[in-house]
Symmetry: D2
Subunit: 197 residues, 4 copies
Amino acid sequence: MNSDYLAQLRKLFEKLPGIGPRQASRFIWALLDFSLEERKNLSELIGALDKNLARCAECFMAGKTSPCSFCAKGGSRDRSKIMVVEKDSDLLNIEKSKIYGGLYHVLGSALDPLEDSAGAARERVRALYKRAESAKPREIILALSPNKLGEFTASYITKILEPLKIKTTRLARGLATGTDLEYADETTLRQALDNRK
Amino acid sequence: MNSDYLAQLRKLFEKLPGIGPRQASRFIWALLDFSLEERKNLSELIGALDKNLARCAECFMAGKTSPCSFCAKGGSRDRSKIMVVEKDSDLLNIEKSKIYGGLYHVLGSALDPLEDSAGAARERVRALYKRAESAKPREIILALSPNKLGEFTASYITKILEPLKIKTTRLARGLATGTDLEYADETTLRQALDNRK
Amino acid sequence: MNSDYLAQLRKLFEKLPGIGPRQASRFIWALLDFSLEERKNLSELIGALDKNLARCAECFMAGKTSPCSFCAKGGSRDRSKIMVVEKDSDLLNIEKSKIYGGLYHVLGSALDPLEDSAGAARERVRALYKRAESAKPREIILALSPNKLGEFTASYITKILEPLKIKTTRLARGLATGTDLEYADETTLRQALDNRK
Amino acid sequence: MNSDYLAQLRKLFEKLPGIGPRQASRFIWALLDFSLEERKNLSELIGALDKNLARCAECFMAGKTSPCSFCAKGGSRDRSKIMVVEKDSDLLNIEKSKIYGGLYHVLGSALDPLEDSAGAARERVRALYKRAESAKPREIILALSPNKLGEFTASYITKILEPLKIKTTRLARGLATGTDLEYADETTLRQALDNRK
């Protein structure tokens, strides 16, 4: 049915990150002004997503293959380290900075303390446990957001991994570019002082 | 080809309003975490857009039918007035405010002085001319943005419509809710004073 | 006493518009880095304020003399109009725009519905009544903020002045430069439509 | 002279941090609405500033006495450490966080590479050299802003102090509360990774 049509399309657009009802409507109007061919292309490309893109079964990174080029045997990455990130975009930014050569593990999001244990991110933590149990990396680096949810996620993962006795570290807190000393919070200042050099 | 796939999808997402390269990538990662069925639905709904939504051949409003329910004969709208708006979302906001009962004409965007005369918005101005010539409304109300492009668009349309001798008006400038008198510009103040009552 | 000193100075700085405790402290540190002479000058200039600046006894505008150059007899302003503004800075902006040649009446602020009738702005409304009663202007123009407090102030003044049977107008609402039609509120849209021309 | 009066007062207000011409005018109007007594108090308090507040001759902190309570002999602070900060407000924030018990050295501002060597901040760097030469602290901690000017200031001070062979450290860079891993810059990420624990 016709009125369903718009509601359905709007609802799916609202599942995209950062898109609310207003923006979803604007997308529909914009699509109407796409050429027929562009709309056909977009439809087909979305329909063919799982033939062209996949989450790596090891690290859950989005890529063309599973296992991804990082996890695949014979790759050039340092397999002794696994860096846990929340989002694909965090991973991308870290890769862009060329500061790290190890493997990753993408959670999809921070863990939500209020969410039950069936959530997607929690499943990926369980997968991390199994992966670490069998691959025995020397270090697992938690590159999680410096906020409450990131703290919770870090504590949770640390506790889960404890039985494996693998060294688990966290990215340091400190002064980020642009931090104003006049307004910095105690945690940031304390760690910036502790890690001074 | 595979690397083309991502580039193509990203490029189409970037054609949506307000979406840059970074957001386009985030959309692709989010789609990867949609269920297979959701992705299939989105693909099919986009593919079926032109069966479910159309621009009215008269007023270019997005709607289920063409002519739209406003333009269709026997409708309840005041056919003596045509209000020219830039965007579907402007029209929607005006409808929501229930201040107007006439017809509309949607340009799609303001006219760009630098753009050649083949642009979509200019075609719709030509369509407005023909529409006004045959329907002979008593008034054409220009509800365009109070900025440079809106000014240009208003002048351009006024000049185009001149031969038809139809009364052409513009929404008044004045103090908008939240305008700060201390910072208001001269045009706004002058019209707020001229139109005082 | 010494600890009183800082607290007292900080408190007085906090009475300046837009200054909170943090900014007040910064002012004190900055003053400490002024030269002795600069500090002496600032102290003396503030002490001599009432010899150099006054509120006009007629219109309450800040100026060098009372009556101010606008209210003084023999001036070039149109004495048939009084424009009521909230703040000196509103007046200054209107003067800068050169759209108005009449007299003013400065309230100091909008009226606060919760404030008792002894407030400074209410006293200036009473002064406006007396001024209008004796000067009998042809029009009183309310140039008040387009928000709730401004609305309240306008209604209040209109009611107070009613017995005088003087034409009382308000600056028009409409589209201000930069108003986005997609987000404009109903009052703004309605008046922009009503005042179209 | 009268017109000088306003210009002079405005100019002095503009020397306060964050105050431009518009805000300076607003201050003058606000002062006009202070009571006579408040204005007299403000004038006297500013005039008496140097009797009530001073920069410590050792560390340049603003305080009631010189030497300040931190630098005075017999105090409880750890005299083996000097932390160099740009502003009094940085110092205040660090004190509030209770992470540090040593002495300070307040520069007044970061050094400006374009400024000649007579600037106030450079004089305080020279004073730091003499202070360090005679007091021989075990560590000088540079708590400077994580931006270009802070970097320049840190390099400059490090070079100046080199002959003294005193351990000179800098607050660590890393993830500050609220840093978004997706947008963090390379320097921040690299140091957050290097200092992980």
